[in-house]
Amino acid sequence: MEQNENKAYVASDYKSSQNARWCPGCGDHAILNVLHKAMAELGVAPHDTAVISGIGCSSRLPYYMNTYGMHTIHGRAAAIATGVKTANPDLTVWQISGDGDGLAIGGNHFIHAVRRNVDINILILNNKIYGLTKGQYSPTSDRGTVSKSSPYGTVEDPFIPAELCFGARGNFFARSYDTALDTSRQVMVAAARHKGAAVVEILQNCVIFNDGIHSYFADKEKRADHTILLRHGEKMLFGANNSKGLVQEGFGLKAVTIGEDGYTIDDVLVHDAHCRDNFLQQQLAMMDGHELPLALGVIRDFDALVYDREVDRQTREIKEKKGYSNLRDMILKTHETWEIK
């Protein structure tokens, strides 16, 4: 990711001439606009940026970018993005997937891209439903979800994307939701600046097939008490006027009101996104917005060796060390040969 020093980019530099064709009111419109802004803030040239998606509503996104991009096949965006980035680590590579594309059909590629720590920014646009096929439950749908393919309610538990990311030894996880524009922009920028696989879950509303699925925390009047925006190095406060905080109790977390039950501001935990041990980060990521507030912002951001850079480094070092000028030279120096005159 090279910062382009000669030119300052603006959001419209990343926007293609095609009009977005998502349904009116779809959360994807907001996410697209925020992505344009985040890219401008990062300042990576459009020609050094590649956006790779799979199949689904959200996977149409590359067509609306004035960058390099590929709208690929269902579930394979992570594998294709891995190829793009490994071939050319100088590109900034984004992967756009929905919950079905990224975590059902593409689940295997997702966990392996995260495990390998390929430097791609994986945006999972999670609306907990299949939209493009018109309303079937997804691997993130809650147990009991009634949909066209589960008319009597699902009888299976969902993935929590964060848990899957941590389970795959992920080093970056952040969360936002479609209407939290500032938070979304901030976490996208942080994800791009992170070296390695960065997973950003953006909870997104499908107005047609799953409208209001995120209302319990995302509605204006619920946000303060049902979400918490985490910032590295800052106290974990939430609620109106930051009157509430998270404290550690036993092996778990507890939400308290400051000044009540003997809790003071000093009891409130300070967020450490950079900590190698991810135990508390996982606890934070698993809060679901009911008893404990849903965690937003950058939950984990830990630097580790990056796959595409390591492939590149190893290839260059071995090439230099052996010093063969070409194929023929290598064969002559390493294989048994004979002359026929």
């Binding site: 293609s16 095609q18 040239a45 459009p46 020609h47 050094d48 590649a50 790779i52 199949i55 590359p62 067509y63 970018m65 004035n66 960058t67 390099y68 991009g69 590929m70 709208h71 690929t72 096949i73 394979r76 594998a79 294709i80 993005a81 891995t82 190829g83 793009v84 980035k85 490994t86 071939a87 050319n88 100088d90 590109l91 295997n108 590629h109 392996h112 492939v311 590149d312 190893q314 290839t315 260059r316 071995i318 090439k319 060390k321 052996k322 063969y324 070409n326 194929l327 023929r328 290598m330 064969i331 002559l332 294989h335 048994e336 040969t337 004979w338 002359e339 026929i340 005159k341």
Partner: protein, 616 residues
């Protein structure tokens, strides 16, 4: 030395080494073929190994064979062996059927212990008699005893000594074929440069084997193989898989595009991944992905990013890659898919050879998804065809499937290492600056080849999106218009057809007055050629052509075939290429010779098959 009367001059010989997987049969066979190649012999080798990695020692299922043919006019490892080296009773029992009627057996008589005979399921204590072997044609060499005597002073324990048993057998073979052991010693010295004690032990044992043959069995026929004239140059021994990997590297050097392999281990293709993983020393990026699909998809990503991108696999993996290959067809990206065919369907016969993926390669995708299909005809031809696959992919902006098979992938031949100018430059269809300035669109094509241009990420101004959705012919924007779709389908088809403009024409061999032509494709070349040679020598007029370019075919292919009264297609399946030709030559009867036993043809099967058709 040998008395002249004992020496039997012949064109070529076939030696089959058989033993337990750990007996070092492949090393012995390789050394023998290499010292033969050095004096100008043509060589061809073929390993025949079980799917199990280490079956129980001495058991019938644990025997692996390694067959070597050396001499003049060698195109195959041979139907049957002139000499069988059997390291134990199990190897003798399972491999005797590969020996010629008048062939010679060399075996370790010390291995005929009650325990080994039982493991190999013999009814009596005399395997020679039980198997009906002519005692005049078997050398019962007390290998273990000789080994112990030779290495008595070496300080090695029994286990370490036994590792040299293959050299004892090789010593006997060198004597039998009038090959001085000095040439082997040179190679052993290089191999064990860092272990002088191991070299010394092996050298002693090798000489002991030669001396044993010389002193005790001088009544056996000794063969002298006439050598052949080869093209001058520097040679090495390659397997088809290694040659495939190297052909891709050559294409990378000649195109200036860095090489990327995305792959997943699968028998019998894995050695391509192994070789390219080693070739980080030439700048190759070879990555092992999480599955076959990720293998092809990572390659598609690398192709988009401007690399010569390759994925290697076998039949089941090709099935998994189908959707990805379809994306490369639609996005019109260069991609090389290597399919080392094995016995199918499903897991089938993973270590055995077949030509049963032809239809899958041609048609195994959803929608109208034409692409270029090539087939390599021999281990060394894998180099050439891998180069061709890469050239066509990058010059015509299309996926190319190269079909090889277990037989040529694992078999080896002597190969002349190409000089710098032996292969042409490759000109990838990269977007030129002047087109970019004139308002280029991603699916604009050149009028001659109909190939779109490769715009590499990182290029200012050439930002573009590709994908699996249909594009408008003129604007390159996604389109669901029916007429446009048909135009695009036909354009993609015509783009593949035009590859034929630059293909070498079909020129049948043995063409004089023949009204019958034997046709094959891919890895059966050596056997078919040898068969046609024999047929013509017997006075049958049979022409021959082996196809390497399957889709598209060279322009003159069908007209050339039409001229013959009889077209006989021989292939290792139930008639896939014959059906393909039949479709293109309606009204012309296509005769067939087929075999689906997981083994290569035997030359005599083809000779007999052709004769049977001609008698009708």
């Amino acid at each position: 030395m040998l008395q002249e009367t004992n020496v039997k001059p012949i064109d070529k010989v076939v030696v089959r080494f058989a033993g337990d997987s750990g007996d070092g049969m492949q090393l012995a066979g390789n050394l023998f073929s290499n010292i033969s190649a050095e004096i100008g012999d043509e060589i061809s080798t073929f390993p025949d190994y079980p799917a199990e990695i280490r079956a129980p020692q001495g058991s019938l299922s644990g025997v692996s064979g390694y067959q070597v043919s050396v001499g003049k006019g060698v195109h195959t490892p041979g139907d049957e062996a002139d000499v069988l080296v059997a390291m134990n009773p199990a190897a003798l029992k399972t491999n005797l059927r590969y020996l010629k009627r008048d062939g010679v057996v060399v075996c370790d008589v010390d291995s005929f212990t009650p325990a080994n005979l039982k493991k190999a399921e013999y009814a009596s204590s005399d395997p020679v008699k039980e198997l009906g072997i002519d005692p005049e044609r078997i050398m019962l060499v007390p290998m273990t005893t000789l080994l112990k005597n030779t290495l008595a002073d070496s300080g090695l324990d029994q286990k370490a000594m036994m590792k040299s048993k293959n050299m004892l057998a090789l010593g006997v073979i060198c004597w039998l074929f009038d090959r001085p052991v000095e040439n082997v010693l040179k190679k052993l010295k290089a191999k064990f440069a860092k272990k002088p004690a191991v070299y010394e032990a092996n050298a002693k044992v090798l000489r002991a084997g030669w001396d044993y043959g010389h002193n005790t069995h001088s009544s056996m026929p000794v063969y002298r193989i006439d050598t052949t004239e080869s093209r001058p140059g520097t040679y090495t021994d390659v397997t088809g898989n290694t040659a495939t990997a190297w052909g891709l590297i050559m294409a990378s050097e000649k195109s200036g595009r860095p090489l990327f392999l995305g792959s997943y281990p699968i028998t019998p293709a894995t050695d391509i991944l192994h070789e390219l993983a080693k070739r980080k020393d030439l700048g190759v990026k070879a990555v092992q992905m999480e599955d076959e699909i990720a293998g092809v998809c990572s390659a598609i990503g690398a192709s988009y990013a401007g690399h010569l991108a390759v994925t290697s696999t076998s039949g089941p993996g090709l099935a998994l890659k189908s959707e990805g290959i379809g994306l490369a067809v639609m996005a019109e990206l260069p991609l090389v898919v290597i399919d080392v065919q094995r016995g199918g369907p499903s897991t089938g016969l993973p270590t055995k050879t077949e030509q049963t993926d032809l239809m899958q390669a041609l048609y195994g995708r959803n929608g109208e998804a034409p692409l270029c299909v090539l087939a390599a005809v021999s281990p060394t031809d894998c180099f050439h065809m891998a180069f061709e696959a890469a050239r066509i992919a990058m010059e015509h902006m299309t996926p190319v499937i190269l079909l090889t098979d277990a037989y040529i992938a694992n078999g080896s031949s002597a190969w002349r290492i190409p000089e710098a100018d032996d292969y042409p430059e490759i000109h990838p269809h990269i977007l030129p600056d002047n087109l970019l300035e004139q308002g280029w669109k991603p699916f604009d094509r050149d009028s001659q080849k109909l190939a779109r241009y490769w715009a590499l990420p990182g290029t200012p101004g050439a930002m573009h999106r590709v994908g699996g959705l249909e594009k408008d012919y003129h604007t390159s924007i996604i389109s669901t218009d029916g007429a446009n779709h048909e135009l695009m389908v036909n354009t993609r088809r015509e783009k593949i057809a035009r590859i034929a403009d630059e293909l070498p024409p079909v020129k049948p061999m043995f063409d004089d007055d023949a009204d019958t032509i034997l046709v094959g494709w891919g890895g059966t070349y050596g056997h078919l050629l040898t068969a046609v040679d024999e047929l013509n020598a017997e006075g049958h007029k049979v022409a021959f052509w082996q196809f390497r370019y399957i889709n598209p075919m060279p322009h003159n292919a069908l007209d050339t075939l039409r001229k013959y009264k009889n077209i006989i297609v021989a292939e290792l399946n139930t008639g896939m290429f014959a059906d393909y030709l039949q479709m293109k030559l309606p009204g012309k009867e296509i005769l067939r010779i087929n075999k689906v036993e997981g083994q290569p043809f035997l030359v005599r099967e083809i000779v007999e098959g052709v004769k049977k058709h001609l008698e009708k």
